[in-house]
Symmetry: C2
C-alpha cells in the first residue's frame, strides 16, 4: 500500500468529484458529492473541504498520509496565489480559494483550471504518460486545452497557455462569434455545442439529413447519423475535425509536441472524429513536424480531472 496519497478535486457546477491517488497517478477511490452552488461561496468551499475528509475517512488511509490536495476548477485564476478571479458557473468570484482551503484543511492546496488539470492527468497516468511535450484537447460544451512540458503545465504569461478553444482558426468569411467575444474560435466548430449548432443550422436550412427527425439534437446524434451514412452529419463532423487538425498543425510548428490527446465527451465518438483529424494534420503540418507525432484519444475519461488535480501536488 502506498505510504503517501494525494487528493484531487474536480469541481463542477452540479457535483464535486473527489479522488484519492497514489504516487504513480493510480486512482484508488473516487466519490461524488453535491456542489450546492445555490447556497453560496462559503457552502461550496465547505463542501469541497468535507469531501476531502470524507474520502479519506472512507478509505484505508489516514489524513496524515495526505501529501496535498489539488483542485481543478473552471475559471480565470491566479495559479500561484490560488486566487479565483471569475468562475462562470460557480459562486467563486474574487475568492482566495487556496488560502481558505489550506486554513480549513491544514494541508497544501493547489488549484488550476479544469482543462489544464485534465491534461496533467493524461500526462501522469493516461494517454500522455511518458511524453515530454503533450497537448490535450477537451471537447465538451466548450473546447478546453492543456499543454504539459516535461510534467509541468504551461500556464503562459497571463494564464492563457493552452486555451486552445480560443484559437482564431476559422477564416473570416465562415467565422461566427464565440462566447468569449472573438470571432472564429476553434470552440465555435469543434465543441459539442458547435457540432449541435451546425446540425441545427443544417436542419433549419432544409439540408437533406435524418437529423430532421430528432427533437433535441445532441453531438452523439450527429455522430450516429454520420455512421449511418448521413452526408450532412458527415460534413459537419469533417468540418469540426478539419479545424481541430489544422490547429494541431499550427501547434506542431510552435511547440512541436510528441503527442496530441483528444478527450472530453466528443472524443467518445472515437475513430469517426480521430481519423479525419489525423488526415488534416498530415495535410497541413510539415513532414518533419509529423515525425513520431501521434494523435490519440484520451484514456482516463471522466477521471482525468481528479487524477490530474491530485497530480498538481507533485509539481
Amino acid at each position: 500500500m502506498s505510504e503517501q496519497i494525494y487528493i484531487g478535486v474536480d469541481l463542477g457546477g452540479t457535483s464535486i468529484k473527489t479522488g484519492l491517488c497514489d504516487q504513480e497517478g493510480q486512482l484508488l477511490k473516487v466519490i461524488e458529492t453535491p456542489t450546492q452552488t445555490d447556497l453560496g461561496t462559503e457552502a461550496v468551499l465547505n463542501n469541497i473541504a468535507a469531501s476531502t475528509r470524507l474520502i479519506v475517512e472512507d478509505s484505508a488511509y489516514s489524513w496524515d498520509q495526505v501529501m496535498g490536495i489539488g483542485a481543478g476548477i473552471p475559471g480565470f485564476m491566479d495559479f500561484d496565489e490560488g486566487f479565483m478571479h471569475f468562475s462562470p458557473n460557480l459562486p467563486l468570484t474574487n475568492v482566495p480559494i487556496k488560502n481558505i482551503l489550506e486554513e480549513k484543511l491544514g494541508k497544501t492546496v493547489i488549484i488550476n483550471n479544469d482543462a489544464n488539470v485534465a491534461a496533467l492527468g493524461e500526462a501522469w497516468s493516461g494517454a500522455g504518460k511518458g511524453v515530454n511535450i503533450l497537448v490535450c484537447y477537451t471537447l465538451g460544451t466548450g473546447v478546453g486545452g492543456g499543454i504539459i512540458i516535461n510534467g509541468n503545465i504551461l500556464q503562459g504569461s497571463s494564464g492563457m497557455g493552452g486555451e486552445l478553444g480560443h484559437m482564431a482558426i476559422v477564416p473570416d468569411l465562415e467565422a461566427i462569434q464565440c462566447g468569449c467575444g472573438q470571432m472564429g474560435c476553434l470552440e465555435t466548430v469543434a465543441s459539442a455545442t458547435g457540432i449541435i449548432r451546425m446540425a441545427n443550422d443544417a436542419v433549419e436550412r432544409g439540408d437533406r439529413t435524418m437529423l430532421v427527425d430528432v427533437l433535441h439534437i445532441t453531438a452523439k446524434d450527429v455522430f450516429d447519423a454520420a455512421k449511418a451514412g448521413d452526408e450532412t452529419a458527415d460534413r459537419i463532423i469533417k468540418r469540426a475535425a478539419f479545424y481541430l487538425g489544422k490547429s494541431m498543425a499550427t501547434i506542431s510548428v510552435t511547440i512541436n509536441p510528441n503527442r496530441f490527446v483528444i478527450g472530453g465527451g466528443v472524443s467518445n465518438a472515437g475513430d469517426i472524429i480521430l481519423k479525419p483529424v489525423q488526415e488534416v494534420f498530415k495535410k497541413f503540418a510539415p513532414l518533419k513536424a509529423q515525425e513520431n507525432v501521434e494523435i490519440v484519444i484520451a484514456k482516463l475519461g471522466n477521471n482525468a480531472g481528479v487524477i490530474g488535480a491530485a497530480g498538481l501536488c507533485l509539481r
Copy 2:
C-alpha cells in the same frame, strides 16, 4: 574587462560572421570572413575554425578566456548531437559539425538553427531581454521563428519548435504552395519573398500601382510605395501583417508569451508593418491573452545571430 568570453558564429552562404561576447551578451567585436562554399565541407569547417581563432588573436583576450563557441546555421540538425542532416545552401549534409569543430578547437561547440539563435540573441540582450516567454519572428527571404522560455530555446520533439514560417495560416482558397511543400504557410505571405510575389502578381494583373514602373521590385519598394499612398502596396502589406498578427493570436492561446519580437530585413520597415500587426492581434486574441503582451521590433539587427550563437554556450 570580462574574464570569460563567448564566441558566436553566424554561418551564411556567403560569409561567416563571428563575434565575441561578454557574459551579459554585449558584443565586444565582430568580424566577417568568406564561407567559400564552393571549396566544400572541409574548407567551410576550416574557415569557421579559423574565424574563431582570428577574432581572438585580433582582440585583447586570450584563447584561454573562451568559455565556448556557438554557431547558428540554417538547416535541419540534431541539436544535442550537433549533427547537421541537411543545410539548403551549405555543403554540410550529414556532417557531425559539433564533433569536428570541437576536435579542431579544443572547446565546447554548440550549434542551433539561425532563427532560434537570433531569438536567443534578442532574449539575451535585445528586445526580449528579461522576458520569460518570448516569441521571435525573423522576416527575410523566408520567415524564421524562435521561442525562448526562461532563457532556453524551445526545440520541440523533432526540432520544429518555433518554425513559425510553416504555420498553415492562409485559408485554402487563398493558399499557395510553400517551398516546404505544404499549402498556405505564413512564409508565403509574410516573408520578403512573399511580399515581392504579391507585388509582381498585382503588376501582372494590371492593378493600379506605382510599382508598375519598378524593374525588379524589392520588399522595400513595396513599403516605400505604401508610404507614398499607393493603395495596392498598402493592401499587400496589410495582407502580410494580417497573417502575422493572426499567427500571433494563435500563439497567444498556445504558449501565451509576454512579448513578440519582429526582426529580419522586413522589420526595418518599422511602424508600417508593426501597427497593422498589432491591430490584427488585438482583433483575434482573447483579451486576457493580450494582457501585458507587447509586439515590438527587434533591437539587435544583423547582430542578433552572432550574439545568440555566443549565448548558446551559457545554456
